[in-house]
């Protein structure tokens, strides 16, 4: 029987993590049953979606709240009218607000995935309250809210965004086959690191959220015990100058390396002996399953969704945020105990393969789409 494909229009604003998520999700959606199309902001790279979506429309959107949002909403509404998708699916807060505004009165199923609630960011109280109010107001304007982790669902409930039956958890995942076929790691000599030196590293934007400053403090303490250790920050970001200045002040230029922004962070991560993520807050922390697949013993902070990925002493070590002493202690524990390292990383890899495979995410989405359309009749 020649059944008609379900047409889904994805509306997205912020690039970065969300773009990566969509590339891997859409890659594994059944193209025989679903037709995905993309409405994205100018920050995206549409060429990455060629072959996995049927159409791409670029609508200029901005990150800040302002008058241009209404314009963007009008443009999106026009596109919804033009393409008549069965499902409209918005990713991240900004696109969520624009889509729900644009979709008023339309006869389709609308979905929203906040990819980390904006009100959980560490910003001023006023802003947090405003974000929460916007989410509460717009929640009734969509049919389902997809949460990327159990923690996100709980946070929605405690902030009273909507009723529980509107929420659906589809735990995030990474592109396992792609990581398995990754290119060879970079050579340590490229960063000037000796072959045998212990290397502790972190992948993440150099921004307040990922706490690279805490990483540096931790490095100082680890170095006191392991003078030959090297530390690698994989990423660029607004804190880079501040960090470089601090590195220079502490005379750690020779042992702390900042790679700046790169398209292949895992080729650096592959050279780590211990991988860390010291985020102050975290929507999900996709880099953790990646570390796990790379078989890296890891140290992470026990904030937001991270404890749903890492269990302390089982597949990694957890430390409180903003505590360089505890982080250093955990790193030292791993560096000094090869049995522990072995045990954690084996368990971690197994967990990642079982629980954080994006193919499972694609399948769950497929089921959700069909279920929603069936209910709608």
């Amino acid at each position: 029987m020649n059944q008609q494909k379900i047409r889904i229009m994805h509306v997205v604003q912020s690039a970065g993590g969300v773009e990566q998520y969509l590339v891997s999700l859409l890659k594994y959606m059944d193209r025989g049953r679903f037709e995905n199309m993309l409405v994205c902001s100018q920050d995206f790279t549409p060429s990455r979606f060629e072959g996995i979506v049927s159409r791409i429309e670029v609508v200029p959107m901005q990150r800040e709240i302002g008058g241009r949002d209404a314009k963007a909403a009008r443009a999106v509404r026009k596109l919804i009218r033009q393409y008549r998708p069965d499902i409209v699916y918005a990713h991240s807060s900004k696109a969520g607000a624009i889509m729900r505004l644009a979709n008023v009165g339309m006869r389709n199923v609308s979905l929203y995935n906040p990819h980390g609630w904006a009100f959980n960011m560490h910003c001023s109280r006023r802003k947090q309250r405003m974000y929460r109010a916007v989410e509460r107001m717009t929640a009734p304007m969509c049919d389902k809210i997809v949460c990327i982790s159990e923690a996100e669902r709980e946070s929605a409930l405690s902030a009273r965004i909507c009723r529980d039956d509107k929420l659906r958890v589809i735990v995030n995942g990474v592109d396992v086959p792609l990581i398995d076929s990754r290119p060879a790691p970079y050579k340590r000599s490229q960063l000037g690191i000796p072959e045998k030196a212990p290397v502790v590293g972190m992948v993440g934007r150099l921004s307040k959220q990922k706490a690279p400053d805490v990483f540096l403090e931790m490095a100082k303490r680890v170095r006191a015990q392991y003078p030959k250790a090297h530390f690698v920050l994989v990423g660029g970001g607004e804190m880079i100058v501040e960090l470089q200045n601090r590195i220079a002040q502490n005379r750690m230029q020779s042992c702390v390396h900042i790679t700046e922004w790169t398209t292949e962070p895992l080729r650096y991560a592959d050279m780590f002996d211990v991988a860390v993520l010291l985020s102050r807050w975290e929507g999900f922390g996709l880099v953790l399953p990646e570390y796990m697949l790379l078989q890296k013993p890891l140290v992470a902070t026990n904030v937001d969704a991270i404890p749903t990925i890492v269990r302390d002493g089982y597949n990694g070590l957890l430390v409180p945020p903003d505590d360089p002493g505890a982080a250093a202690k955990a790193v030292l524990r791993l560096l000094g105990d090869s049995d522990l390292r072995e045990r954690l990383k084996t368990q971690a890899e197994q967990d990642a393969r079982e629980r954080f495979d994006v193919r499972r995410v694609a399948k769950s989405h497929g089921q959700l789409f069909e279920e929603l359309l069936k209910n709608k009749g």
Partner: protein, 408 residues
């Protein structure tokens, strides 16, 4: 979204890709490169034909290039007109009229294209007479002007400017000038302008290790010793660019400070000016502390910047943007510049001096202060590079372009 970019000039017919150089052509090529990689829109670029540019365009298979090849007659007329104007007006502006007939030919072709195009948005690059292309066409999409300079004439096309959707300006300075009551194209309402900053290739322009072989070779070639402090100036040797102020500063600085002056009058053109003679006379007194390199190919510039401890770019006219500042900063070289036109918008917390009598002295003071504190100097180097990478990197140029079009 389909975008048609019209880029033409009357001072030599610079093609895109920038086979013959020129700042505007280079920026347009960067848009093409960005869009070829990201494919945010369907892009068509109409450019003067040049064999090398045609070959270079093959690197961008996702961009459609429409070539305009002026006939031999047009080129002959250009030559005659240029020589005639040079005879009439002995001033330096003659180079603005190097190829007026080619431009007319381009405008005719562009007008024809606009009749049949299915583009949603048309961008006119900088050139005022280009507006004529839009005059008698049935084109009903949006069109935008992208101003790299403050326009000096209206070319009799005010009606076209009135109907223009938006004006992308390379700085707030240019935008303010467009909205000023004395604007040459008629005061443009402020809400019709938006700032679309230029970009720089931060991969081509990047810091190099101090001890690399190429740098050592260049030092040797220019006669720079290891202990020397090097200040660099790049740009045309005209009063507007202010190279003399660097030399005046050099007079006040100790012996081991040297100045490297990169640039000639107008690209490769062989026109010697009075100002240039004066400059040479001033340099005479400083002997081997001033090094004139003559014209340097654009792709060799990063090496020259890396040779320097500090870049001194004391523009004396209201520079719309000042790309040289960006290039130096991208190489991790702190700049000392002047509060002219759009420059302050591009250099962040770098040293920005007021133009005035004391400029030479102030440059000397600030250079010494900057180099005296080695930790502070290192910070300034890192800051310079990072500031440019964050805001003006060519990788995000196309994204900012689409965003700017979305303002209207």
């Amino acid at each position: 979204m389909k975008v048609l970019i019209l880029t033409a000039d009357s001072n030599g017919g610079y093609p895109v890709p920038a086979s013959k150089g020129s700042a505007v052509s280079t920026l347009m090529e960067q848009l093409a490169e960005g869009n070829n990689a990201q494919r945010l829109c369907d892009m068509e670029i109409m450019s003067f034909y040049d064999e090398k540019a045609f070959e270079m365009a093959k690197q961008y298979p996702h961009i459609t290039f429409l070539w305009v090849k002026p006939t031999a007659l047009h080129r002959l007329l250009d030559k005659c007109a240029f020589n005639f104007i040079r005879l009439l007006k002995k001033n330096e502006k003659a180079v603005s009229f190097k190829s007026p007939f080619s431009l007319l030919y381009y405008i005719r072709k562009a007008g024809k294209r606009l009749r049949v195009t299915d583009a949603d948005k048309v961008i006119l690059e900088n050139n005022i007479p280009l507006a004529r292309a839009l005059r008698k066409t049935p084109f009903r999409g949006q069109w935008f002007y992208h101003f790299h300079n403050v326009p000096r004439i209206d070319g009799g096309c005010r009606d076209v400017f009135e109907r223009t959707t938006g004006f992308l300006c390379v700085s707030q300075f240019v935008a303010d000038r467009l909205s000023a009551p004395d604007s040459a194209i008629g005061a443009i309402p402020a809400d019709k302008t938006t700032v679309f900053y230029n970009c720089v290739d931060t991969e081509q322009f990047q810091p190099m290790p101090r001890d690399c072989g190429e740098l050592a070779a260049l030092r040797k070639k220019l006669g720079v010793a290891d202990g020397d402090r090097v200040m660099i100036f790049t740009g045309r040797l005209t009063a507007e660019k202010g190279a003399e102020h660097l030399l005046r500063a050099l007079q006040l600085l100790p012996e081991h400070y040297k100045a490297v002056i990169v640039g000639s009058y107008h690209y490769n053109a062989d026109v010697k000016s009075d100002y240039q003679q004066q400059l040479y006379a001033l340099a005479e007194s400083l002997k081997d502390r001033v090094i004139f390199t003559g014209y340097v190919q654009h792709d060799e510039l990063p090496l020259y910047y890396n040779l320097a401890d500090v870049a001194v770019l004391p523009s004396m006219w209201d520079e719309p943007a000042g790309l040289t500042n960006l290039e130096a900063m991208a190489c991790g070289v702190p700049v000392i510049t002047t509060n002219s036109g759009g420059i302050p918008e591009y250099v962040g917390d770098s040293v920005v001096l007021e133009r005035g009598e004391r400029l030479g002295e102030e440059i000397a003071e600030r250079v010494q202060a900057l180099l005296a504190d080695s930790e502070g100097y290192e910070c300034a180097c890192r800051y310079s590079r990072q500031f440019v990478c964050d805001r003006f990197d060519k990788d995000r140029y196309i994204n900012r372009f689409i965003e700017a079009l979305g303002v209207f």
